[in-house]
Symmetry: C2
Subunit: 232 residues, 2 copies
DNA sequence: AACTAAATTTATGCCAGCCTAAATTAGCCC
DNA sequence: GGGCTAATTTAGGCTGGCATAAATTTAGTT
């Protein structure tokens, strides 16, 4: 089986664009120029230029003034980057003593440099995990990913129990705050109170009453709503 | 202690130039434009251009038409790269199952991406080694390096014993050949015969007679000549 | 239907790093 | 010291990837 070598190996920039476009499609269904520019902290015209190149390389399709969509090849590459990132995070935490909250920067640097071979070696050392320490699913080497969608904590109904599944965020400060509340992937809680407009959510966790504050925070906590309250 | 952050962090290209210039200075005492171009597999005019930028950044001094010399800052950066490379090689071999002979490519990619923090974490996991698996000395985090110079195997006198110390080469084929002879850093041998002009060297190793062939090969084997023959 | 605000694209320009071709310099030989 | 050769530098060009300013399109009023 002649490994699919001799693909031109994407530039660091292109890899970042694909990753961001993938995330935007997932979160909001579409990837618009200004959203990409925002996420990459560059000016919108620069995105227009790159989008042209990505479309030429058939990694995205582009409808002018409307936004961009990953092609099959583009999605494959994006998932490959996501796998690298999450395997790297897992390895750095598991084998090199990195903390939950500050591993993202390092993984971000390395994901553009490691070979597929090294990623797979790390995966083996980790026991081929399917989820990273933040609870996020790790795409398989073949490019498939667990499609389960969870709810933001802000949408779980008052009185219901929930299980915290993953944190879709990499900001160290937020991660530290979440960890300080005792929220880890798999943790079960009950929603005691909830303010409208994605306001604070009050939960009971491990017998304690805790307040989860801030729109960006509670809405980035991906949870599953449990049918039967587990804390009656 | 405000860590020396906010240095502009050298580009990948610049890091490669500094590494190559360091090696050339070490091997032949001077670093000339064409030698740099050769080592990096780029055209000489490109080197001229980069040398100008390196000189502007005070990483090298440049005497037109004469060559280039690392400044103190340049040498510091070169040693930092060497430390990264050798720690990475050691870690990949020791903890991720890489082989002696094909670890170089991976380390070469990673050395531009890893953070100093990660390098030091790997060094700790390895027990702060002073030499890598090829026998090459690893610069300290402070930027000092074991200055010991060994002899190429081709210069050890017939009848004398020697100790193999390090292989100054990364070519996988050569490394495999050397490994197949049983030559590992620390191995002791006796020179039985030696052809002039860096020709083949015949040695006795572990009781067997072996022939080390090829100029580039035997001369890249750095050895120490033992005063008292150990195999009488 | 026309006007306006916001998003997007086009037009230009800059820098890093590479290239080739042409000009320059160094080193050597007689 | 003149001339040849090899090494080096200058000149000019290209691509990737960013920027700003100006033009264009979309969408939401009214």
């Amino acid at each position: 089986m002649p490994n699919s070598v001799d693909r031109p190996s994407l530039s660091r920039s292109i890899e970042d664009y694909l990753k961001v476009i993938y995330k935007l499609e997932l979160e909001s269904g579409s990837a618009q120029t200004s959203a990409i520019a925002d996420a990459l902290a560059i000016a919108p015209p620069s995105v227009s230029g790159m989008v042209k190149r990505l479309a030429d390389a058939e990694l995205v399709t582009h409808v002018p003034y409307r936004g961009v969509e990953l092609t099959e090849a583009g999605r494959r590459q994006a998932l490959r980057m996501l796998r690298r990132h999450r395997i790297l995070e897992s390895y750095l935490i598991g084998h090199l003593g990195y903390d939950w909250d500050d591993v993202d920067r390092e993984a971000e640097r390395l994901e553009h440099a490691v070979s597929d071979d090294l990623v797979e070696r790390m995966a083996v050392k980790l026991g081929n995990p399917t989820h990273d320490p933040h609870g996020a699913p790790i795409p398989s080497a073949a490019g498939t990913i667990d499609p389960t969608r969870y709810l933001p904590m802000t949408e779980i109904e008052v009185g219901h129990a929930g299980r915290f599944r993953m944190i879709g965020d990499a900001d160290p400060e937020r991660l530290r705050f979440i960890a300080s509340l005792g929220l880890r992937p798999g943790a079960e809680f009950r929603v005691l109170d909830r303010q409208p407009f994605n306001g604070p959510v009050t939960i009971e966790l491990d017998g304690d009453r805790k307040e989860v504050i801030g729109f960006a925070l509670a809405s980035s906590l991906q949870c599953e709503q449990l049918e039967e309250p587990t804390l009656p």
